[in-house]
Amino acid sequence: MAARSACVWAGLVFEQVGGFFKSGHTNNWAVLVCTSRFWFNYRHIANTLSVYRSVKRLGIPDSQIILMLADDMACNPRNPRPATVFNNANQHINVYGDNVEVDYRGYEVTVENFIRVLTGRLPPSTPRSKRLLTDDRSNVLVYMTGHGGEGFLKFQDAEEISNVELADAFQQMWQKNRYHELLFMIDTCQAVSMYHKFYSPNVIGIGSAQVGEDSLSHHVDPSIGVYIIDRYTYYLLEFLETVTPDSKKTLADLFRVCPKRVCVSTPGVRTDLFTRDPNSVLITDFFGSVRNVEITRQTVTLQRNDTAQTCR
């Protein structure tokens, strides 16, 4: 009974101050996946950690970030500067940082674990930090990077996830009320093929390359001997570094982050499943954890109403 009256009360409040909850989400989550193992794939770890750094800086706490890294680059014996991963040969930004929590690492990064995290079908003993505990008010950012082809993305050079499996996983999430809105971003060859099969509502897809195109890396760092980061994510991080929790940049700005002249590949966007206008959706709706706080000078009188009304 108490619950119901609370519910009714909340409903009334919502009617009166509905304008506060414009974006419709109350919490933010991020699933960041690097699917590549081996030192020569350093750039994929750097990609994922770039996004990790940004979402963390913009306010998503570690407990709401599922970070999957298929290999350890930071303390790899080949890394001349241990415990660092840089986005740039000039070593401007250590994207690994001093405060990092990796939830799935090494051999744990498998297609099975990834799908289980998304759909929430994990064994009961799984600790909280390895679970995606989202609800129907969660905005989820899913970022993936690795080696892919048309319609698939390889995991650790041993298995792969297809675009159909991915689309079905998102549909399961939708049916189980596991997201409110979902931003899917992928940096791999022929990336857009990964979101072609999506059919669940409120999903935006962003890919770094069209079908038939390779997604290219940015530059080599001679001190580590391999490519340090991919082009798309390099420019994405450059853009995200300019975003602050209160900035008004929108998804439309995000779509323009890496034009063909710098990216060489052609990034693609899919918004037909998304109901809102990307021009009015703030970046921080997905990359940050920003609550809308609006200060009003008017007094809002909340009336107590005990007459029975059902919620919904």
Partner: protein, 625 residues
């Protein structure tokens, strides 16, 4: 058990000493509800490296044993980390030792570490006596810890877990309510586990001051992992509150050790300073810590080969049996931080490091892989006892994964002179494919001034193709062997082990005459027969198969000459004729038929036999899985 009884008199000294040390654990600090101590010990090694050992001890006067269980007692957390306390209460852990280590401790150069740790991850836990299903609790605990420390401890399963009989006895209180059951120990290692900032981050969050102030402010990941050896540890155990041991306390030790190599980066000198190796200086003690101290071992500075700045708050000398140790102590609570702009311990050497032949410790061990090829192999350990006239009793434990099938009959223990050594006791648990590892424990007496060889051979197993990890060609790891013993001399210890809490008790109390020691050997990397997973190989295989099938049948069809043969006219001899007769046997009614019939029935029964064989094989396969 019979073996234990038979060799009882011989073993008694070792075991009674172990038991004695494990039972009379106490700390002699004033009684409070809970208290926190932070200490840092810096030891310049003669080999040129500098060892820094951080030790954070939290003592909580809380008797968490008993039938009620710790769940009700571990509730109001102050200095003790709640995240760890809850996990401990949930799975009813009595003692837990977790280490995450990168690099190999070099016993022959650096003597014995404060806490010996296996490369990779090592976890051993004593569960409380009341736990019913230990395997279930162990499974839950490893999963919870994997989440807590961002390590892949969830990969610990029955194939890597053992319950040693002789090694890993409780280090804390094990009497009264804390009396342990031998079956409630679990030990596992993950030798491949890499350790980095992602493990340090959750570890340092367990500290009451985090890294904002106190000694933990020195934790800069880039510096901590730019070292030859770095080890993180979490050790939980019950200890006595006072000498009479009427009540117990819960002790949490968080240790972090690194070994930096200054001469390699700095003109050959061993110069070391906090600013250079931790990239900052100390600004003050952690306000939560009752004791906050930095110790620098200046024993090797008899000839003033280096200068130490700033002036220590005091110099302390402790004498052990036949040698003394000199320590410079900085007490962070009395250090004049306001005058000095922070404490930056700085050691400057006058000369470059002279690399002399170092004297290895009295007891140390090496291990390596022997043999060649991909079918068989062997493991050999060399146990050195350098004591000129005392023999040394040790417990040697070897944990071998199932995919290297150990041959016990090839086990050989002998000195390098060729004298066989009869183990006083041998405990062996054979492994099972995909289920359990091989565990070998032996109690050996090492003759004085000798090198003992322990060797055995193994067979490498074929894995199923889905069992190979993505980087199968990297190889497979075999975890460290463990040597447990009690030494009579304290010479080779960095800090002689003492049953009290914190570094201080070991550094300044020299009353003990028995020093328990645990040593880990090298981990081993072996290669198993691995199929070529690469794309060209698979393409070649597939193409060859297609060609073989297509070409073979086409060739057969095009080159064969088909002819009409009259079966009835064909001769009675030959396989073809017999087959023809077999298929057309209804039409034939001769006495020959009887013989044929009996033959076919024989064949049928043989076929049936074959069938049953294959069924039983399948059953076995299923069981294996």
């Amino acid at each position: 058990m019979a073996a234990a009884r038979a060799s009882g008199p011989v073993l008694r000294p070792l075991f009674s000493a172990l038991l004695f040390l494990s039972c009379y654990v106490f700390h002699t600090v004033a009684l409070t509800k809970d208290e926190h101590t932070e200490e840092l010990l810096i030891v310049p090694f003669r080999s040129g490296q500098v060892y820094s050992h951080f030790e954070f001890t939290t003592l909580w006067d809380l008797d968490f044993a008993g039938s009620e269980g710790p769940r009700y007692k571990l509730q109001h957390f102050r200095l003790f980390p709640r995240a760890l306390g809850q996990v401990m209460a949930e799975y009813r852990v009595q003692e837990m030792h977790l280490t995450l280590t990168q690099g190999m401790w070099q016993q022959d150069k650096w003597s014995y570490p404060l806490t010996s740790a296996a490369p990779g991850a090592e976890l051993w836990v004593w569960f409380q006596r009341e736990v019913d299903d230990v395997d279930q609790a162990w499974f839950g605990l490893t999963n919870a810890l994997s989440g807590l420390f961002c390590a892949s401890l969830n990969f610990i399963d029955s194939t890597s877990t053992v319950t040693p009989d002789l090694s890993f006895r409780p280090q804390g209180l094990a009497q009264g309510l804390f009396k342990t059951k031998p079956s409630h120990l679990r030990y596992a290692t993950l030798p491949r586990e890499n350790v980095c900032t992602e493990n340090l981050t959750p570890w340092k969050k367990l500290l009451p001051c985090s890294t904002r102030t106190g000694l933990a402010a020195l934790f800069h990941a880039g510096q901590l992992y730019n070292t030859q050896y770095s080890s993180l540890g979490v050790h939980l155990r019950p200890v006595c509150q006072n000498d009479s041991c009427t009540d117990a306390s819960l002790e949490l030790r968080q240790v972090l050790s690194t070994v930096a190599d200054p001469p390699a980066v700095l003109n050959g000198k061993q110069d070391w300073s906090m600013k250079r190796y931790f990239s900052r200086s100390l600004s003050g003690p952690c306000p939560m810590a009752g004791t906050s101290r930095v110790y620098v071992d200046v024993t090797g500075n008899q000839t003033s080969s280096f200068t130490l700045k700033p002036e220590p708050t005091e110099l302390k000398v402790t004498s052990y049996q036949d040698y003394s140790r000199k320590l410079a102590v900085y007490d962070l609570w009395t250090f004049p931080f306001h005058k000095e702009h922070g404490l930056n311990v700085d050691m400057k050497w006058k000369r470059e490091v002279a690399y002399n032949q170092l004297t290895p410790p009295l007891l140390y061990v090496h291990r390596f892989v022997t043999g060649y090829g991909q079918e068989h192999g062997g493991i050999m350990s060399l146990l050195y006892n350098r004591h000129p006239y005392l023999e040394q009793q040790v417990i040697y434990m070897e944990l071998v994964p199932w995919f290297t099938r150990m041959y016990l009959h090839t086990l050989k223990v002998e000195t390098t002179e060729g004298n066989l050594i009869q183990p006083l006791m041998t405990r062996y648990k054979p492994g099972r494919d995909r289920q359990a590892p091989y565990l070998l424990e032996m109690v050996l007496t090492l003759p004085p001034d000798s090198t003992t060889r322990v060797s055995f051979s193994f067979e490498r197993a074929f894995l199923k193709w889905t069992e190979y990890p993505p980087d199968a060609n990297h190889g497979f790891y075999i975890s460290s062997a463990v040597l447990t013993t009690i030494l009579r001399q304290a010479d080779n210890f960095t800090v002689p082990p003492h049953m009290g809490s914190g570094l201080e008790s070991g550094l300044f109390h020299s009353s003990s005459t028995e020093f328990p020691l645990c040593l880990h050997t090298e981990t081993l990397l072996i290669s198993l027969p691995t199929p070529d997973f690469s794309m060209p190989y698979n393409v070649i295989c597939l193409t060859c198969t297609v060609i073989a099938i297509a070409f073979g049948s086409l060739h057969n069809l095009t080159t064969r000459r088909f002819q009409y043969t009259d079966l009835t006219k064909a001769g009675s001899g030959g396989l073809r004729a017999r087959l023809a007769r077999l298929f057309g046997r209804e039409k034939q009614t001769t006495s020959e038929e009887q013989g044929e019939e009996s033959e076919t029935s024989d064949e049928n029964t043989q076929e049936k036999l074959l069938n049953t064989n294959s069924v039983s094989e399948e059953e076995i396969d299923n069981k294996d899985r």
